[in-house]
Subunit: 288 residues, 2 copies
C-alpha cells in the first residue's frame, strides 16, 4: 500500500519503519529534515518536503506528532496534509489529542471524501520499537476495516471503539486508571519504607492478589530505587490529564482523584521531574 | 498436629476445615456455639467451650476474628487463649488488626514461652474456601518456619515479612494499593459512561497494558452493572484504612489519596453500602 507517515518522534520513527518492513511503500515527513533523511537511509524509504507532498504520494496517511496544535499545523497548515491528500484516501491520527479535534477532523475530511480515524496508541517507546502497540480507534467502522491490515504492522492489539473521538476518549480512560494505580502504588511503597518493611518481601506477598497491577509488576523496583527513566514522561501525562479533565468538564464526569493526581504531577515537575516517567509520583512523597 | 481454631466466620470456618482435611487434629471455639457445633459435624472435629479450653488442647492456636477488640477478648479475656495455652506452643493471629497489637501480643506471649505470629490473609471468602489465601507473616523467623507447614493447608502463598507487626503492615500496603486502583478504575469507568463509550470495547483495548490490574480484570463488568456482592465489605475496608492512617500518623507516611478514598468509602456507607464490596466506590460517582 502507498502510505505516508508524518512525525518521526520516538514513536513515529519506529512505527514508520515497521510499515516498510511490512511491505508498504512509505513516504515520510518530519519537521526536522535531518531526522527524515536518517530514517530514509535506515529503512530505504522516501522523504517529502511538506506534509502535503507526503500525503499526495499515499492512499493512507498516518500522523503522530505532539499535541492538538501540532496536528492542526501538519494537517490544516500551508502545504499541510489536507492540501495534498486525494479523495478516497484515509487519514489516521496516532497523536494523543483532544476528542473535539478528532470530531472536527472527521467532519472536515469527510467533506473532501477522505476518511479519518483517531487512533492514539499505548505501549510507549518500547511498544513502538517492537511493533507491539495497543491502538484505540474512533471513526467510521468501514474506515477502520480498511486501516486495520496496515496498522497491524506495529500493533499487538487494535480495537475499534466507536464514532470519531472515541479512540481519544478511550485513551483518557486508560490514563485515569493509571493515575489511580500509580498514586496508590506510590503511597503503598512510601508507607512500606516508612514502616521499615522489607519491600521486596511485601511485594512478593501482595503482587498476585487483589492489589496486583502491571505498574506494580513492572515499576515497583525502579520506583523504590528512584529511577524514573522508563517511558512516558510527566509532561506528556499532564497534557493527557489536562485534556481528560477538560472533557470531564463537558460530560459531567466527577474525576476528583484524577484532578488531585494531576496536581501531584505538577509538584513532580516543580521537583525537576518534567521528563521523568509517570511512576515518579512517589518522588514527591519521599521528600523529607 | 494438635491445632485450635478460634473464630468461625466466613474466613475461619473454611480455614479450620482445611486443617482437618490436611490431617490435623482440630479443636474449634466460636462465640456462637451453634456455628461451632455445625462445623464439628461437617468436618468431624472437636469443639471447646472457651478459647482457653481450645488452646489447652493444641500446640498451634489460630485466631481469626473481627478486630483488635475481638482479638483482645479471645486472647486476654477470662478463659481466653492465654489462660489455656502451654509453653512451647504457637499462637497465630489471622485477624487483620493493628501492628501495635501484634507487637504487644508478641511481647506478652514471649514472657509465657509462647511464640506469636501476626498473619493477616488476603484472597477473601473464595480464597478461604478454596484454600488459596495469601498470608503475610510477622514475628520470629523460627516460629514462621514451624508454622508454615500447617498454614499450607489454606495458603496459596505464604510470605515471611519481618519482625512482629510486619504482617499487619504488609496488609496495610495491600489495602493502600487497592484504594488507588479501585478509585482510578471507578473514575475511568464513570468517565467512559459519561462520554458515551462502549465500555466493553474500551476495556478490551486497555486491559493488557499499563492500566491493567486484577481489579480491572475481575471487577469492571460488575462495577458497570452496579453489582457489589463480590467480597470484602466496605465496613471492613474502612476498619483497615483507619488502622493504616493511624499507623501513617506514627511513621510519618503521607497518604493523601488513601485518606481521600477512606472518605469516599464513608460516602458509600451513607448510600447504604456498608456491606457492599470495595468496588462500590463507583456508586458515589454514578449518583446523578
Amino acid at each position: 500500500m502507498r502510505m505516508a507517515f508524518i512525525g518521526l518522534g520516538v514513536m513515529g520513527y519506529p512505527m514508520a519503519g515497521h510499515l516498510v518492513k511490512a511491505g508498504h511503500e512509505v513516504t515520510v515527513y518530519n519537521r526536522s529534515q535531518d531526522k527524515a533523511a536518517a530514517w530514509a537511509t535506515a529503512f530505504a524509504g522516501k522523504t517529502a518536503a511538506t506534509p502535503g507532498a507526503a500525503a499526495a504520494a499515499a492512499d493512507v496517511v498516518c500522523v503522530c506528532v505532539g499535541n492538538d496544535d501540532d496536528v492542526r499545523a501538519v494537517i490544516f497548515g500551508t502545504d499541510g496534509a489536507l492540501a495534498g491528500i486525494s479523495p478516497g484516501s484515509l487519514l489516521i491520527d496516532h497523536t494523543t489529542a483532544s476528542a473535539s479535534l478528532a470530531r472536527e477532523l472527521h467532519a472536515v475530511t469527510g467533506q473532501q471524501g477522505v476518511g479519518f480515524l483517531d487512533a492514539p496508541v499505548s505501549g510507549g517507546q518500547a511498544g513502538a520499537e517492537n511493533g507491539a502497540l495497543t491502538i484505540m480507534v474512533g471513526g467510521d467502522r468501514h474506515d477502520y476495516d480498511r486501516a486495520e491490515p496496515a496498522l497491524a504492522a506495529y500493533a499487538r492489539a487494535c480495537q475499534y471503539i466507536g464514532p470519531a473521538g472515541s479512540g481519544q476518549l478511550a485513551k483518557m480512560v486508560n490514563q485515569i486508571c493509571i493515575a489511580g494505580i500509580v498514586q496508590g502504588l506510590s503511597e503503598g511503597l512510601h508507607f512500606a519504607r516508612r514502616a521499615g518493611l522489607d519491600v521486596d518481601a511485601v511485594i512478593g506477598a501482595i503482587s498476585k492478589g487483589a492489589a496486583q497491577s502491571w505498574q506494580m509488576e513492572n515499576r515497583w523496583q525502579t520506583m523504590v530505587n528512584g529511577e524514573f527513566e522508563f517511558g512516558f514522561a510527566v509532561e506528556w501525562m499532564r497534557k493527557d490529564l489536562g485534556m481528560t479533565l477538560d472533557e470531564a468538564g463537558r460530560n459531567g464526569a466527577r474525576l476528583d482523584m484524577t484532578r488531585l493526581v494531576d496536581n501531584y504531577y505538577a509538584e513532580v515537575q516543580e521537583l525537576g521531574g518534567n521528563r521523568w516517567d509517570t511512576s515518579s509520583l512517589i518522588a514527591r512523597l519521599e521528600r523529607t
